[in-house]
């Protein structure tokens, strides 16, 4: 892991760096914090008491001619709530701890816009797909009661990157993800008729590289 990070930083630093011109190929690592509002509001609301949660992660971007880019991100959500029942808008929590862990790996490709004289700002849009690992564990579980599965989903996002310094940028975007196949097969999500593990996320990335 350490080697990979150093390699990524090295690659970023090694990118062509002519005075003010962006390099034709830049490989840029980043760290990311996300606040996601889950689409399955009844499900998450019943178990955790709220429907928006942070993800933390990071990734790497490959930017070509400062316009086209591909991005690989990995992040993680982990939250403990209570097993519950939900009926007619009422939620009955049962005091039995439940921990859910979501680990998305997402690959997107996109385009960065140039805004004339606003050289520090790069609006961008991107779309792609992800692979979502989902684990659900709780106390008093028998063999087969816990969930450990992985499904794929789609993402689209759009935002802007602000260059803070020559090698450091801050990006903010909004991402929509759609992740079917995990929720809706059982549990409260089935009761609530919710099948999407995705949602809308506000993402903040600290990008290293030009």
């Amino acid at each position: 892991m350490k080697t990979t990070v150093l390699l990524l930083i090295g690659l970023a630093l090694a990118a062509p760096a002519a005075a003010q011109d962006p390099p034709s190929l830049a490989i840029r690592p980043f760290v990311m914090a996300t606040e996601q509002s889950f689409a399955a509001i009844d499900t998450f609301g019943a178990v955790f008491g709220k429907t928006y949660f942070p993800f933390f992660g990071g990734g790497v971007q490959v930017v070509v001619h400062d316009r086209f880019f591909a991005e690989l991100t990995a992040s993680r959500f982990r939250q403990t709530g209570e097993r519950a029942y939900r009926s007619g808008g009422q939620v009955f929590k049962l005091g039995i701890p439940l921990t859910a862990t979501i680990t998305p790996f997402e690959i997107t490709g996109g385009y960065r816009f140039h805004l004339g004289r606003m050289e520090r700002v790069r609006p961008y849009v991107a779309a792609g797909f992800g692979s979502y690992s989902y684990q659900e564990t709780s106390t008093f579980a028998d063999a087969g009661d816990n969930v450990d599965t992985r499904h794929s989903g789609l993402v689209v996002n759009g935002g802007a990157e602000f260059r803070l310094q020559r090698w450091v940028s801050l990006a903010a975007d909004v991402q929509y993800s759609h992740v079917p196949g995990i929720l809706g097969q059982g549990g409260i999500s089935q009761q609530a008729g919710e099948t999407d593990l995705g949602g809308v996320a506000a993402r903040f990335k600290l990008v290293i590289g030009r």
């Binding site: 097993r83 519950a84 007619g88 009955f92 929590k93 049962l94 005091g95 969930v147 549990g187 009761q191």
Partner: protein
């Protein structure tokens, strides 16, 4: 055996002392029944009952049923149902004036009078001459515009097939509902919840009873001699109320005798209470489902001894009909019970849902059940034992009226019985009103291994009216054994116990409790809900564990 004799001697001394106190305190008192609560010795626990002679079709069982029918002196309606003479239950419309109500009563009966409204009732009782036809009077009243409903006071009976069998060392019924893992989830097992046992009463306290027993004739006309004034020892079932656990008994009440001492003189209510909350993990006897619940004994069913103790001075005053049940339900709801177990019922037409104001329906019980559920109570009703019974004019497998009512109320469930092999118990009524299943036991194919066992009275000491007149003696209610019963009466308290634990776990809405129990039940028989098993066998662990996000 020596210990038994010693205890008997001690009991005799204490009872004799109690008798002296009783006589001192009640000189000139002609009361037929005097209960001196908390004056008496602890009960004698005989352990496993070795009695095997009683099966559902045994001579003893038939005689017990016949004796009760004979003692009750009920009227039998045109449809064959039994009801109490001398009374009609009437719910007048709120807007009707008293003068119109009286006119309606006069039109129905020359002797009819509206009695003072009993406690815990939203209905009135019209007293008529005991020789009048109550069903005819009710029929006239039903046609009156002032009347919302009118019905005779149907005799309600327990939903069990009693047995006095050998008690074996295993309670097959408990693992069948997955209770051990539910206890892991909730070791406190319902300690914050009060369960009302609306039944024949409960052996919840020690007492000394003084009664005057009259002569009576059994169903064959054989005369049994008067025993005069007798002193009867009565003890709490040690596995319901331990020496330190008396506080688990909440607001006891007797609607049969209109007292606050609902002592069980039958054994049924004590057995049902044991399945709900028998003391557990104490190294003695059997286990109960929600073994820490508080218990509210609400007596609404009369036994043979209730009738004999009452001395037949006015059999229409000796309770045990559906107006008593209705009052018992309301009483339980008003006094803090959250789960109501009703191992009782009666038979009637299948269409009470569309026309409740007809003969053999029980609108008075339905109104009380809706009232209780509206106050947050979850109600469990035995599904009925009539699968093989032919009850004219309703035929074989007649509709169990109270269970049918439960099926129409979100927050009340009717419970069928299964046997040890999770198959339909031969007696368990079936129909569209069956919602859940639980172990009720069966001797067919299993013998005594198929019973549901809990601590209750040793019938050899209580059912002395089954003996010949020469051997007839006063009963004693201080000798207990682990006795086997079967019936949907035994199935219902399993569900009541699980419901109590579920409520303690945090689910407080009766309708949601029903939904959960049905959704988590283990499907039996035809896939999906069916008329034999309902939604299936109650699963305590699945119900208590609840749902996650994805599973």
């Amino acid at each position: 055996m020596g210990g038994f004799r010693a205890r008997t001697l001690c009991a005799t001394i204490v009872v004799a002392g109690g008798l002296v106190l009783s006589l001192r305190g009640q000189t000139g008192d002609d009361s037929r029944l005097v209960i001196q609560e908390h004056l008496g010795l602890p009960g004698i626990d005989e352990g496993l009952s070795q009695e095997l002679s009683h099966t559902p079709s045994s001579a003893e069982t038939r005689k017990r049923v016949a004796a009760l029918q004979s003692l009750l002196q009920d009227r039998v309606g045109p449809t064959g149902t039994h009801y109490r003479a001398g009374r009609v239950i009437v719910r007048f419309r709120d807007e009707s004036a008293m003068v119109d109500r009286r006119a309606a009563v006069r039109a129905a009966s020359g002797t009819g009078e509206i009695a003072d409204r009993p406690s815990y009732a939203d209905f009135d009782v019209v007293r008529i001459d005991v020789n009048e036809d109550a069903e005819a009077a009710a029929s006239v009243l039903r046609q009156r515009p002032e009347v919302q409903y009118a019905q005779v006071a149907h005799r309600v009976h327990t939903m069990m097939v009693p047995n006095d069998p050998l008690y074996l060392t295993q309670q097959w019924n408990m693992p069948l509902i997955n209770i051990e893992k539910a206890w892991d989830i909730q070791p406190q097992a319902g300690s914050a919840i009060t369960v009302a046992v609306i039944d024949t009463g409960m052996a919840y306290a020690n007492a000394t009873i003084t009664a005057t027993l009259p002569a009576f004739r059994d169903e064959n006309g054989i005369l049994y001699p008067a025993l005069g004034k007798v002193t009867i020892p009565y003890s709490a079932a040690s596995q319901l109320v331990s020496a330190t656990g008396a506080s688990r008994i909440v607001a006891p009440h007797d609607f049969v005798n209109e007292t606050s001492t609902p002592f069980d003189f039958d054994g049924h209510g004590t057995h049902v209470s044991g399945t709900i909350g028998q003391l557990t993990n104490d190294g003695i006897g059997t286990a109960g489902v929600a073994f820490n619940v508080k218990l509210m004994p609400v007596k609404v069913l009369a036994s043979e001894w209730d009738l004999l103790f009452a001395g037949f001075t006015n059999t229409s005053n000796t309770g045990g009909s559906d107006d008593d049940v209705a009052r018992g339900i309301r009483y339980a709801a008003d006094n803090g019970a959250k789960i109501l177990n009703m191992s009782l019922g009666s038979e009637g037409p299948p269409n009470c849902a569309t026309n409740p104001n007809q003969a053999d329906c029980s609108p008075v019980i339905e109104a009380a059940m809706r009232y209780a559920v509206g106050k947050g109570c979850f109600i469990v009703v035995a599904g009925g034992n009539g699968f093989e019974d032919n009850v004219p004019p309703y035929g074989t497998n007649p509709t169990s009226i109270v269970a049918e009512i439960a099926s129409r109320i979100p927050g009340a469930v009717s419970v069928a019985a299964i046997d040890r092999a999770k198959a339909h118990a031969y007696y368990s009524s079936s129909g569209s009103y069956i919602e859940l299943s639980a172990p009720g036991g069966s001797e067919r194919g299993f013998g005594s291994d198929g019973f549901i066992r809990q601590q209750t009275f040793d019938f050899n000491f209580t059912d002395t009216f089954l003996s010949s007149p020469a051997q007839f003696v006063a009963p004693r209610f201080d000798v207990f054994a682990y006795v086997g019963y079967i019936g949907t009466s035994m199935a219902a308290p399993h569900v009541a116990g699980v419901a109590a634990m579920l409520m303690q776990q945090g689910v407080t809405d009766p309708a949601v409790i029903e939904q959960i129990l049905e959704n988590t039940a283990v499907d039996l028989g035809t896939p999906g809900r069916d008329n034999t098993f309902g939604f299936g066998l109650v699963d305590a662990r699945a119900a208590l564990r609840g749902l996650g996000l994805a599973k």
